[in-house]
């Protein structure tokens, strides 16, 4: 084995990771935790502005709303984790503000427990069927 780096080795012109880093800024993930009964409203509002896909999970949790109380034959139980729905969408960074506001308006009841929306960067997206990457795969 020759020594490393040997004389044939040179630094790549552009580091692959940096290329990914450029893309990352162009895609965002939106996670919205909302009240379950608002799901239909939110989904319709998103369809209306052209959102083509999302991932949905039934989750449990609590925030400022805390949980609620249940009473069985006089015995009170504090139920800390209450059912919520979590939506996950991967979108172009340019659309983020519009989508977040769309979700917020559709999920709003004005009462405590309406939920939260998180936005975070995405490094890469790959469509399994075709192998397309980045914005084309969204």
């Amino acid at each position: 084995m020759g020594s490393f780096p040997d004389k044939h080795w040179r630094e790549p012109a552009v580091a692959p990771f940096t290329t990914q880093g450029e893309k990352e800024k162009k895609m965002k993930k939106i996670e919205a935790i909302i009240k379950p009964f608002k799901l239909d409203d939110v989904k319709e509002a998103l369809s209306a502005i052209g959102i083509k896909g999302m991932t949905l999970s039934e989750v449990k949790g609590y925030g400022r709303q805390k949980g609620h109380k249940e009473v069985y034959r006089g015995a009170e139980y504090q139920v800390d984790f209450i059912p919520k729905v979590k939506l996950e969408l991967i979108v172009d960074a340019a659309q983020v503000d519009e989508i977040v506001e769309c979700i917020r308006r559709a999920a709003l009841t004005g009462k405590i427990g309406d939920g939260k929306i998180f936005v975070m960067p995405i490094e890469e997206v790959v469509r399994v069927r075709t192998g397309e990457k980045g914005s084309n795969a969204i």
Partner: protein
Amino acid sequence: MINAGDTAFVLAAAGLVLLMTPGLALFYGGMVRSKNVLGTFMQSLVMISVISVEWVLMGYSMSFGPDVGGLTGNLSWFALNTVGSAPSPTYATTIPQNAFMIYQCMFAIITPALITGAIAERIRFSSFIVFSLLWTILVYNPVCHWVWGSGGWLAARGVLDFAGGLVVHLTSGAAALAAVMVMGPRYNHGKRNFAPHNLPMTIIGTALLWFGWFGFNAGSALAANGIAATAFISTHLAGMTGMAMWIIMESLHGGKPTTLGAASGAVAGLATITPAAGFVGPIAAMTIGIIAGFVCYSAVNLKEKIGLDDSLDVVGIHGVGGIIGTICLGIFASKTVNAGGADGLLAGNASFLGTQIFGVLVVGLYAFVVSWILLKIINGTMGLRVNKEDEISGLDQSQHNETAYNN
């Protein structure tokens, strides 16, 4: 002389009373956590096997056989010796004696099954079998003889119990109290969530219990006659007002009317009317149901304050129901309803009320003390509780190697 109508009625009633035991399994099973539902079912179901064998071999003879000093029947009817299809000269004289025997067998089965609600989610299956068998021999059979057996000493003093307020509900309630005291609370009781895992199951159980209760109470007339109809109606009316009163109490108490409350109130009303069913009229029955809803609701709430883990409220509903039903019989009984019964306080006969209270004290104390001693002995030898690890993983896994819900 065998009467075909009476025989058909009592045999059908026996089938109805048997149905109450799986009904009870559903009633209790829905109230425990999902990891204990099969263990809870099993505790009721297995009584059908264990107690039927005990009853045929010796229980029937101890309860209804030839009297020994008013305290017990002797064992001369061991293994149903001489008990055949000819009518008994003393009990239910219009039906075959073996029909009477199998009808009474169903009562002996459900009584120890009732106790399981108090010790739910923590008893070892093997210890439970030993306890139930010995308890039936030492508590159920003697008390059954005292109250219903020919020559029984409480019956001789005039104590009345139409269908089992003393024999079934008070004995099981007193044993439940002893069991809760000896075994202690479930692990993490009062800290974690012990909410029922399937209330629809509990409602189905309530429906089957209510249906079977017509066999339990109306069948206790032991003939297809007017007293059976009176008992049938009293049973229904008390169950109905018990349910109404319980949910009214919940609402007045600052809560919401709950399905578990409706089910509990119905069972409280049905348990409370049991000793009085064939001896009181419809208005008295409705009043007794209202009293049951009020008192049993209060008793169940009091439990939370005392801190006893009577998990599914056997003491508060069956024990208290048996007591107030037997005492209410002393108040509301009327010979105009049933000439074979008695006149109570409202009919001007205060001494009958005293007799009923005496019956409650004797049966309650006896059942509590013997159960407590029996539980202490089993706890010291076999151990009553599963270990902590098994309790956390649940009875279904640890006692039966099964899981109720697989998806």
